[in-house]
């Protein structure tokens, strides 16, 4: 919403500076986006007289002009075709910043002739795109005077950003009312004009709606003015429209624009001679078309409210008029429409057809329905004034919707909600200045131009925004405990622990989109229909991710393409099995790519399954869960290498994590080559540790007797997992066997095919005495027997 200072002062009697006004506007919720003061911007540009203009000695298209600036005569080289002796133009001295180009003008020599300034075009002045020649000023323009002053560009233009709840401020008068309420001057009195009808309106008006859709256009007022002479509107009006970025068209059209901008009351004018039969509002019929004033033809649907006559659709109600019945310079009889259109339907029409117009902007926010008749009267008065003619009586179909409502208001609520003490009288006085009327029992009636006000809280907002939010005292929030209690949930602690653990293990945290391409999701088990985005921002982000891996792999590919070939990355974030709240899981997911940076020591890390497994165990440990109590199975999902991956689970259903090298086909889909190790830890599935009554650790039980280590080598089927052998050895005596470590695995020469040699070291820790050789041998025999029984292994 834009307006000029003088325009505002038409409604607001004030001596306040533009700075004060701008500051107040922002303070009361009408946020100022910009204040443009052309008088200041164009101050260096002055009126100059071209004394002479001779052909440039070295260039056909240039002229050498002697310019009288009022203080001295200067030589200027000019390329404009209209530069000639005896004209008056706009002069800029060397050193002036040219708004149109953003450059500082320099004293220069053009093709060997000195030039001490410039005669400017409108484009160079930043006024328009006009650049066919330099600006020509009237003969009586006083030489040396500032250009802006001479052409009346001294009016600062203020632009405010309106929140959607303030339709009343889509008109300058509404802005003035708010400013007056805030104490910046007084709102000038305004009496709606009295129009004396000279004849009977000949255009019948109708509203053709069902009961259910009648609110589309509840009131339609119309009047004819005959014998008008349409032409350019007065200079002051043209100037105003131009100042806010509108193109003046003709007096009749400019008046409707003025009504929109000044009074937030959009109107429409028709050439009455082009209307056929009854003009009426109705819903469009499917397939109907209309050529609108923007020159485009729109196909309509039956939700759209149109204005029509016997010939068909004339225009889009509340959005845009039509070409067929528009006014022109030849119009002599004009029909004025002033109607009310439903905000919701108007917004829908604009959205469906893709039309943004000044009318839509106002109607979709909610135009004051009570302004229907005063609005048309004021427009009629202006038409009679600018275009002559005589007015008919007013025909009104329907009724303005009843907006009357009262709110019981307790002024004490201002202090309760805002913490600032306001005298009840002051609160009511503010409301009164805003157009609210209050009776003794503090029943406050809402003016018809404020569709946003419905309850006490709304009135509190009205009061506090005028009082000023800066008056709200900063008030410490009472503490709930002197030393704050811990607030993180077990799950939040897990997420934090997982992130910092993985980072400490050399992985870099990434955050990638929660959506991926459907084709990518398919590689990771796919997603149900319920997880497809109906309106994705792009086709490759159309499915909620079933795993974090596709995002990380795509990121890895981008990094590899940039030459970063060794990397480790993780993300702790959501993944989805379905669209219901319980079907979103938090996974700690990571990848390791490459064999480590090339280096002299040759020892590097490996992007292999054991690295991934180590990452998983580290995350579990950080979350307070020992991986020892989980079972390792070899059934990781299809996106892993079938022989180099595993799952860590508690029971058949409860998967804690997957880990392993990724399947080459998956890597190929991401244009990556392996090996790449990956892991996914499902943080929600970890068992929640029971809260303990104390933080005391269990007693440390150290034995003072000598521990004994014995090594065993087994020959076993290659398919047997090491874990089975370790488990069998451990279970021989859970008290005595302190630990079992695997220290050698060998397949190949010397070992029969299909078998492997696996060596374990067993540490025995007696608790009450030193073991004798015989006792050690007895345990060793039991271990060999147990391992043989469990796995078919033989001792080597």
């Amino acid at each position: 919403m834009k307006f000029t200072l003088s325009w505002l002062k038409d409604h607001l009697d004030t001596d306040a500076t533009v700075e004060k006004i701008a500051e107040t506007l922002t303070d009361i919720g009408l946020e100022v986006e910009s204040v443009r003061d052309k008088a200041k911007e164009l101050a260096p540009f002055t009126v100059a007289y071209v004394v002479s203009a001779e052909k440039h000695p070295n260039a056909d298209k240039l002229r050498v002009c002697i310019v009288d600036t009022g203080t001295k005569k200067l030589q200027v080289v000019c390329g404009a075709p209209n530069a000639r002796a005896g004209m008056k133009g706009v002069f800029a001295h060397a050193g002036t910043k040219i708004p149109g180009t953003g450059l500082d003008l320099k004293k220069s020599s053009i093709r060997g002739v000195e030039s001490n300034g410039m005669l400017c075009s409108e484009r160079e002045m930043g006024l328009s795109e006009e650049h066919d020649g330099i600006i020509e000023l009237p003969e009586d323009a006083p030489v040396g005077k500032p250009f802006a002053e001479v052409v009346g560009l001294t009016d600062p233009v203020i632009e405010i950003k309106l929140t959607p709840n303030r339709p009343d401020c889509t008109g300058v008068r509404g802005v003035a009312r708010d400013l007056a309420a805030a104490g910046v001057g007084h709102l000038r009195q305004d009496q709606p004009p009295k129009i004396t009808p000279r004849f009977n309106n000949a255009v019948p008006i109708g509203l053709h709606f069902d009961k259910e859709t009648a609110n589309a256009c509840p009131i339609f007022a119309g009047r004819m003015v005959r014998g008008v002479k349409n032409g350019p509107s007065p200079a002051w009006l043209q100037q105003r429209l131009k100042a806010v970025g509108l193109r003046p068209i003709s007096a009749l059209v400019d008046i409707t624009n003025l009504m929109s901008l000044d009074r937030a009351r959009p109107l429409h004018v028709y050439d009455a001679d082009k209307l056929r039969g009854e003009i009426h509002a109705r819903l469009a019929k499917a397939g109907e078309k209309v050529l609108a004033l923007d020159g485009k033809t729109y196909e309509l649907d039956p939700e759209i409210c149109v204005i029509a006559d016997d010939s068909g659709v004339l225009g889009l109600g509340g959005v845009m008029g039509g070409e067929s019945t528009g006014v022109s310079d030849e119009t002599t009889n004009v029909f004025i429409e002033s109607a009310h259109f439903d905000p919701v339907r108007t917004a829908r029409t604009g959205r469906t057809l893709g039309i943004n117009s000044d009318a839509r902007y106002r109607f979709e926010r909610g135009v004051d329905p009570e302004s229907t008749v005063p609005g048309i009267d004021l427009a009629t008065k202006l038409i009679l004034e600018f275009c002559g003619g005589e007015a008919s009586d007013l025909t009104v179909a329907g009724r303005a919707p009843d907006t009357k409502r009262e709110i019981t208001f307790d002024p004490g609520l201002v202090e309760k909600l805002c913490g600032v003490k306001i005298h009840p009288g002051e609160a009511l006085s503010i409301l009164d200045r805003l157009g609210f009327r209050s009776s003794v029992g503090t029943r406050v009636s809402v003016p018809p131009w404020r569709p946003d006000i419905h309850g006490q809280a709304d009135l509190v907002e009205e009061v506090i925004r005028i009082v000023g939010l800066d008056k709200v005292p900063s008030t410490p929030l009472p503490r709930l405990a002197s030393v704050p209690l811990p607030v993180l949930t077990p799950m939040q602690k897990r997420v934090r622990a997982a992130k910092r653990t993985l980072a400490s293990r050399g992985l870099v945290e990434a955050m990638t989109w929660s959506f991926v391409a459907k084709a990518q999701a398919e590689l990771f088990g796919g997603v149900p229909e319920a997880l497809l985005v109906a309106n994705p921002i792009s086709a490759d982000l159309d499915a909620m991710r079933p795993s974090v891996l596709p995002g990380l792999l795509a990121a890895a590919q981008r990094n590899v393409a940039r030459g970063i070939k060794d990397l480790g990355m993780f993300e702790v974030g959501p993944q989805f099995t379905g669209s219901e709240p319980g079907e979103q899981l938090t996974a700690a997911t990571g990848i390791r790519v490459g064999a480590g940076p090339r280096n002299w020591a040759k020892e590097s890390w490996n992007a292999d399954v054991f690295q991934a497994k180590a990452d998983v165990l580290a995350v579990l440990d950080a979350c307070g869960f020992s991986g020892d109590s989980a079972q390792v199975t070899t059934d990781a999902p299809v996106w892993y290498h079938p022989g180099r991956s595993g799952a860590l689970r508690l029971g058949p259903k409860n998967v804690l994590a997957f880990f392993g090298e990724l399947h080459p086909n998956v890597l190929a889909a991401f244009d990556l080559t392996g090996p790449i190790a990956a892991f996914e830890v499902m943080l929600e599935t970890l068992p929640t540790p029971k809260p303990k009554p104390t933080k005391t650790r269990p007693k440390l039980d150290l034995s003072e007797y000598q521990a004994v280590e014995r090594d065993f080598a087994f020959l076993v089927d290659a398919k047997v997992g090491a874990a089975e052998i370790v488990k069998a050895a451990t279970s021989v005596d859970r008290v005595l066997v302190e630990s079992v470590t695997v220290f050698d695995v060998y397949e190949g020469q010397g070992i029969e095919p299909g078998k492997k040699s696996l060596a374990i070291g067993v540490r025995l820790q007696p608790r009450d005495r030193t073991l004798t050789e015989a006792e050690i041998d007895a345990v060793a025999t039991k271990i060999v027997a147990a391992v043989a029984k469990a796995t078919g292994a033989t001792q080597r």
């Binding site: 905000p343 805002c418 709930l480 607030v487 400490s504 293990r505 994705p536 669209s579 020892e603």
Partner: protein, 358 residues
């Protein structure tokens, strides 16, 4: 006597002449071994008369002790030389670089969230979370956003495919549905902050289709705008680690708060970077207000009894402002160079006691 003296002289010369440990050992065997010359001399003591032994004993034993000591000394000297040679041979080039280690980082959004958590936890706020895929009812209706509101349109909000019953879920456009979930589940007093991923149909220089918000909610019987102002003042001062942050509250409009305000903080934008707490510019940083009575009512509480406030801001934006990361899109591109530059060490856990950042 001369024999003994010359024997000792010869013995000591042998020891001194031993060039390495093997030669020294050979000398030791020849001198002190079972049949060594000194051992043989010692044996002669047995055949002597007690008087003679009294005289010769100390002399011969003295000789043996001196030779033994000489051998030990020589052994030490030879060991030192050998060790010296070994150490010289073991020299490496210490100017070589160390073995490469991977350097992990946490994302700046994680860091700023941990910072915000530290501050708000200190003020007694819990952290509430909710699903990314939301019900229309929680994301819009219960927040007093009417069905025709522009935010509900397909060009602003991501919707999932409609289910068989015709309803469709959406990707939450703000973290506010967690306010609804919390109010429906809990009794006041409520003090929560809600961080999380949110989604909007936006993609350009300064917008991404997914970003992070953090919002706060206080519901009780007395909390008002003045408390909100204090919380925000304290928060911004603490999170930006500056002595003071000047804020400006501007009246604004949101469907779920009444009165509503937007908050700007004073900054200096000259020189291409944003400096907080100085300058003449204002930077819009968050939206807030008193929770709309209708929202309180729709979430199951009596608006005549309970009141409170809420605020919300961009978490990524907070990180951008504090740490000077210029481009929001880079937050989600997972460029290792960016992550390493703007990321944080695993051990940089923000605490109020130690200062939020290094």
């Amino acid at each position: 006597m001369n024999d003994l003296e010359s024997l000792e002289r010869e013995a000591l010369a042998r020891v001194a002449a031993a060039a390495d440990e093997a030669a020294l050992e050979a000398a030791r065997v020849e001198l002190l071994g079972k049949r060594g010359s000194i051992s043989e001399t010692l044996k002669t003591l047995g055949a002597m008369s007690p008087d003679e032994r009294k005289v010769k004993g100390p002399i011969i034993n003295g000789m043996r002790n001196r030779v033994t000591a000489a051998i030990a000394a020589r052994k030490t000297a030879l060991g030192d030389v050998a060790l010296e040679a070994k150490l010289v041979a073991e020299r490496v080039d210490v100017t070589l670089p160390v073995r490469p280690e991977m350097q992990g980082r946490v994302h700046p959004v994680t860091q700023i969230l941990d910072e915000a958590t530290a501050i708000f936890a200190e003020m007694g706020f819990a952290i509430a979370e909710g699903p990314d895929i939301e019900l229309d009812d929680f994301n819009f209706t219960k927040l007093n956003i009417p069905p025709e509101h522009p935010a509900r349109q397909m060009h602003d909000t991501f919707y999932l495919k409609a289910k068989s019953d015709g309803t469709r879920h959406l990707l939450r456009t703000h973290t506010s549905p967690v306010q609804v979930r919390t109010m429906l589940a809990e009794k006041p007093p409520i003090r929560i902050i809600v961080p999380g991923r949110v989604y909007r149909m936006d993609s350009d220089q300064t917008h991404t289709p997914m970003f992070h918000q953090i919002e706060g909610l206080v519901i009780d019987e007395t909390s008002h705008l003045g408390h909100l102002k204090w919380i925000l003042e304290e928060f911004f001062r603490a999170v930006f680690e500056v002595p003071q942050v000047e804020m400006r509250f501007r009246p604004s409009h949101f469907p779920f708060t009444e009165p509503s305000a937007e908050v700007d903080i004073r900054c200096d934008r000259s020189g291409g970077e944003v400096k907080l707490g100085q300058g003449d510019d204002w930077l819009e940083i968050l939206g807030c207000g008193m929770v709309h009575p209708k929202v309180i009512e729709m979430c199951g509480h009596d608006p005549a009894k309970y009141q409170g406030f809420a605020w919300g801001m961009g978490l990524d934006r907070l990180a951008m402002l504090k740490y000077g990361a210029p481009d929001l899109r880079a937050f989600f591109e997972a460029d290792m160079r960016w992550l390493k530059h703007y990321g944080f060490s695993a051990l940089d856990v923000p605490t109020l006691a130690g200062g939020l950042s290094r």
